[in-house]
C-alpha cells in the first residue's frame, strides 16, 4: 500500500503501488462511506481544523518554499482555504438535494429531477505557487461531492508537500483521502491508472500529458492552466489606485508567479510615462528602496525558474528596455520588480507566460487596437482593463475572450465563491470555486418518472399514417393538432 510516510520516495511508488492504491480507494467508495452527508461534513470540518491548528506550520512551509510574506500566505492561501471550506459546509446540504425540473408535453405525464452523485475515485494534481490552496481547494470540492480522493502536491514546493502529507494523514479519513508525494515517476504511475476524474493545476505542457493519459481511460479532466494575462490601462482613470492595484496583482501575488497575475500592460504611447512614474512611486511605498531585501516579496521558487526568468532579460534588445528594477540576487533567488517599456514583439518575454516579476508595457496608438493584440494570442486565464469609459468597457467584455474578466482591478475575482474560476482554450477547461467545485466532481444524473397512466399508442408499431399525424402534433406541442389527430380529423 502506498504510504505517505515512506522516505526516500525513489523506488517505492510505481505502477503496482498506484494500482493497489486505486483498488483500495475504489473499495472504500463502493462501500458507500464517502456518499453520506455526515462523512463529507466531518472531513470538511477536519480540513478546517487542520488549517486552524497548524496555521503557523503552513506559513512556515510557505516561507521555506517560496519566502512567501506572512500576510500574503495568510490572505491568499490560508484565509481563502478557510473561507472556501466554511462556504462549502454552509451550502453542502442544499447542493446535495436533487433539483426538480419541469417536463414538457412530449414526455407527459412525467416528472423529473437531477440527482447529484459522486464520480468515484478522483485525482487532484496541484501546483507549486499556491501549494497549500491549490491542493486543498479542489480537494474540498472532491470531498463535498462525495468522492474518494488522491492528492499529488507539487514536488517543487517540498516543504508544503510534506506538510500536506503529514497533516492529511493525521486529520483525514485515510481510507478515502490520500496524499502521494513525488515527481515525474510517481505522477506517471498515478496517471496510468483509471480515475473517475482528474483535476490538474499547472502548465499547458503537462496539461497535454495529463489529458492524453486520461484519454486512455476516457476520464473527464479539469485543467487549470495559465496564459499571458493582459492589463489594458486607459488614461481616464484614478492613477494612484490603478498603480496600487496593478502592483498588488503582479508583485503582490507571489512576486508575479501566479496564473492570474498581470503578465503585461497595454496602454497608449502618451500615457505610458505617467503610468510608469506612478508605478515607481507606489513600488517604493510598498517595498522600499531595496526590494531585494524586502520581507514583503516572495522569492523565485527554484533555481530553474530563476534561470528561466532571468533568461527573458538576456537579449540586449530586451534588457535595454528596462525602465525600473532589473536587479537580482541569485544566491537568494530574488528578482526585483522590473518594468520594461516597448520590448520587441517577437522576443521570448512577449511569447511565453512570464510567471515572474517582470512587467513589460506595450504601447499602442489607440486602446481599441489592444483587443486585436490580445485576441491574436492564446486565450488567457484572465484579462484586465482599467478605464472609466463605458463604451470601452463594453467593447472589452464583448471582444476579449479569457477565462474571466475584471474591470478596474486585478485578480480579485478569484476570491468570490459565486463565480466559476477556470480557463478557456490554452488556459484550460472546466471551472471550480464555490458550487462549481462541487459540480466539477459530481455526475448530475437525470431521473425521469413516468406513470403507467397515459400513453400515446402512436409511439409504437404497427405504424400508420394516422399515427404519424398524431406524432407530428404531439412533438410540436400543438394542442389543437393533437386533438384533431386524436379524433381522426
Amino acid at each position: 500500500m502506498a504510504s505517505e510516510d515512506k522516505k526516500p520516495k525513489a523506488a517505492c511508488f510505481d505502477g503496482e503501488a498506484a494500482r493497489s492504491l486505486v483498488t483500495e480507494l475504489r473499495k472504500t467508495f463502493d462501500a458507500g462511506k464517502t456518499k453520506s452527508y455526515e462523512w463529507r461534513v466531518s472531513q470538511l470540518k477536519s480540513l478546517l481544523k487542520l488549517t486552524k491548528d497548524h496555521e503557523n506550520d503552513i506559513i512556515e512551509a510557505l516561507r521555506t518554499d517560496l519566502s512567501k510574506p506572512v500576510l500574503e500566505a495568510f490572505v491568499s492561501e490560508i484565509a481563502m482555504l478557510k473561507s472556501s471550506c466554511e462556504f462549502t459546509l454552509k451550502q453542502l446540504k442544499r447542493w446535495m438535494v436533487p433539483e426538480k425540473v419541469k417536463t414538457s408535453i412530449t414526455t407527459f405525464p412525467s416528472s423529473a429531477e437531477i440527482v447529484p452523485e459522486p464520480l468515484g475515485v478522483v485525482l487532484v494534481i496541484s501546483a507549486w505557487n499556491y501549494p497549500f490552496l491549490l491542493s486543498l481547494d479542489p480537494v474540498i470540492g472532491a470531498i463535498a461531492a462525495g468522492n474518494a480522493v488522491v492528492l499529488k502536491p507539487s514536488e517543487i514546493a517540498p516543504a508544503t508537500s510534506s506538510l500536506l502529507a503529514k497533516l492529511l494523514g493525521e486529520y483525514m479519513d485515510r481510507s478515502a483521502v490520500k496524499v502521494i508525494e513525488g515527481a515525474v515517476p510517481e505522477t506517471s504511475a498515478l496517471l496510468e491508472q483509471k480515475w473517475d476524474k482528474i483535476f490538474y493545476t499547472g502548465n499547458g505542457k503537462v496539461g497535454r500529458i495529463v489529458l492524453a493519459a486520461a484519454a486512455k481511460h476516457l476520464t473527464p479532466v479539469d485543467l487549470e492552466l495559465g496564459g499571458k494575462c493582459p492589463v489594458i490601462v486607459d488614461s481616464n482613470i484614478n492613477l494612484i489606485v490603478t498603480a496600487r492595484r496593478i502592483i498588488a496583482g503582479k508583485w503582490g501575488m507571489n512576486n508575479g508567479q501566479a496564473c492570474i497575475s498581470a503578465d503585461h500592460i497595454i496602454t497608449t504611447k502618451d500615457f505610458a510615462p505617467k503610468l510608469i512614474d506612478a508605478l515607481k512611486v507606489e513600488l517604493v511605498k510598498f517595498y522600499g528602496n531595496e526590494p531585494l531585501v524586502s520581507e514583503d516579496l516572495s522569492r523565485i521558487v527554484s533555481s530553474n525558474h530563476f534561470a528561466r526568468v532571468t533568461k527573458l532579460l538576456d537579449d540586449d534588445k530586451v534588457a535595454g528596455k528596462i525602465v525600473h528594477g532589473g536587479q537580482n540576487d541569485q544566491n537568494n533567488l530574488k528578482i526585483a520588480p522590473t518594468i520594461l517599456l516597448d520590448v520587441p514583439e517577437d522576443c521570448l518575454m512577449m511569447n511565453e507566460e512570464i510567471f515572474g516579476p517582470l512587467l513589460p508595457i506595450v504601447t499602442v496608438n489607440n486602446l481599441e487596437d489592444s483587443f486585436k493584440i490580445i485576441n491574436s494570442r492564446e486565450k488567457p486565464l484572465a484579462a484586465y482593463i482599467f478605464t472609466t469609459n463605458k463604451r470601452l468597457k463594453e467593447a472589452f467584455v464583448k471582444n476579449v475572450s479569457a477565462g474571466g474578466l475584471l474591470i478596474n482591478d486585478v485578480a480579485l475575482h478569484i476570491a468570490n465563491p459565486y463565480l466559476p474560476f477556470g480557463g478557456v482554450g490554452e488556459s484550460g477547461m472546466g471551472s471550480y470555486h464555490g458550487r462549481f467545485s462541487f459540480d466539477t466532481f459530481t455526475h448530475k444524473k437525470a431521473v425521469l418518472y413516468r406513470s403507467f397512466a397515459g400513453d400515446a399508442s402512436a409511439r409504437y408499431p404497427p405504424y400508420t399514417p394516422g399515427k404519424l399525424k398524431l406524432l407530428k402534433a404531439l412533438l410540436s406541442g400543438n394542442i389543437l393538432g393533437i386533438i384533431r389527430a386524436l379524433i381522426g380529423w
Binding site: G32, T107, A112, A214, A446, L448, Y463, K472
Partner: protein, 491 residues
Amino acid sequence: MEPIGDLERELEELRETYKSGKTKEASWRRSQLKSLLSLLEEREEDIFQALHQDIGKNHVESYRDEVGILIKSVNYALDCLKQWMSGKNVKLPMVTFPTRAELVPEPLGIVLIISSWNFPFGLSLEPLIGAIAAGNVVVLKPSELAPASSSVLATTLHSYLDNKAVKVIQGGPSVGDQLLQQKWDKIFFTGSPRVARIVMTAAAKHLTPVTLELGGKCPAVVDALSSSWDREMAIKRILGGKFGACAGQACIGIDYILTEKKFATTLIEEMKVLIKKMFGENPRESHSVARIINKHHFLSLKSLLDDPMVKASVVYGGSLDEDHLFIEPTILLDPPLEAAIMNEEIFGPLLPIISLEKIEESVEFIKSRPRGLSVYAFTKNEKLMRRLISETSSGSLIFNDAIIQYAADTVPFGGVGESGFGRYHGKFSFDAFTHEKAVVRRHFLIEFWFRFPPWNDYKMQLFKSAYRYNYLSVVLITLGLKKSSQCSKTH
C-alpha cells in the same frame, strides 16, 4: 474523400467567418435555426428515404425518433435563445460592494461534431443546434456507415444554412484522422469507446475540450407487475425501447432485462403476444423493425448467438436473414453471464432476460458492472426505486419507460464513466458549446487600503475579520475600538 489542401481551405474560410463576428450575432443564429427548421419540414421525404435506405427505418419511426424530435428541439432553441444568450448576474459577498459580477456566455469558436450511423440525422443535428445557438462555426462529419443520410445532410445543410459557417465533411476513418489533426475549440463525439479514445487522444494535443456520448449495456429492471394494464404498458414500452428503436441499435436502447424467476414466464408469454401485435407476423415484410446497418455488424451479432449455450437460451425468434441484413426480434432466457452477449454492448435486436431470485438483487447486479448511459426500471416499489437511485450510477435513470428521455429538453442527456462525459439537449446543448466568462466590474471609489503592503499585524487583523465577513469587526478595528488580540506572532 477530401484531400488535405481542400480541407485547409475550408477551415481557413471557417476561421475568417468566425473572426468576422457574424456568428455571434443573435440575428444570424436565429436565421440559421429557422433555416434548419425549414430544412426539416421541407426535406422530410428525402430524410425518410435516406434512413430507409441506410437502415431500413419505417418513416414513422424516423419521424418519431429523428425528424420530429429535431423540429421540437429547434423550436425550443428559438424560443429560449434570447434567454440563453443573455448574461447571468451573480451575487457577491457584501465585503466586495459595490462590485458587480455576471456570467457572459460566449462561443468557443470552431467546433467539430462527429456523429454516428444509427440516428444519423438526430445525432448530427441535435448537437448542431447547440453549436449554432451558441454562436460557433461548425464542421460536421457524419458517419460514412450511413452513406445516404450523410449525403442528404451534406446537400441540405449546404443549401439551407450559411455554408461559410457550417460545413459538412463526408468520409471514413482517414478523413476523420485528418480532421482530428486540426486544432478545434471543441469536439463533440457520438460513437463507440474505441473511437472515443482516438478522438480524445488527438484532442489532448491541442487541449481541446470534448464531449463524449458513448453507450454501454443499459439494463431494464422489470418488477412483477400485478395489474395487466401496467404489464401491457410496460411491455409495450420495453419492446418499443428495444426492437422499435433502430432494431436495438441505439445507445440508450434496452440491452437486457433483469426480472424475478417467478415472473419471467409471464413476462415472456406476454412479450410474445405483443411482439406479434406490434411488429406483425413477419417483421421484415411489415417494415416495422429496422435492419442491421451492415454485414460486419450483422456477423458480430450472429456470432453472439454462436455460443451453443446462448443459442439454447433463445425462447423466441432467433432467425437471421443475411441477405437482407435482418434479424427478427429475439428473446433469450438466462444465457450464461460469462458469454459475450452479457459482456459487450449488444446493439441489436437480441434481448436477454436474466432471472433473479429476488428483484432487489438487480441493484447489486447493475452496480457490479460498468456504468451505462441509462438504467431503466419498471416498478411501483418505492423502496426499490430509492435504492436504484442512490446505489446505482448511470447517465440517467428512467422509471416505467424507455428511450423517452431522449425527447426531453429539461433533463441533461449524457453518460458517466464508460458511457462518456459531457451532456446535451435543451439548454445543455447550448452550454456544451459555450464558455461562461466571469466578468467582474469594480470601481475606483472604495478600496480596501489594507490590501497592500507594507504588511503589519493591524492589516492582518483586518483581513481576518474581512474574510470571515465579520463586518462589524472590520469597522471597530478601523475605528480603533477593537484590539488585535488574536494576531499571529510570526511577523
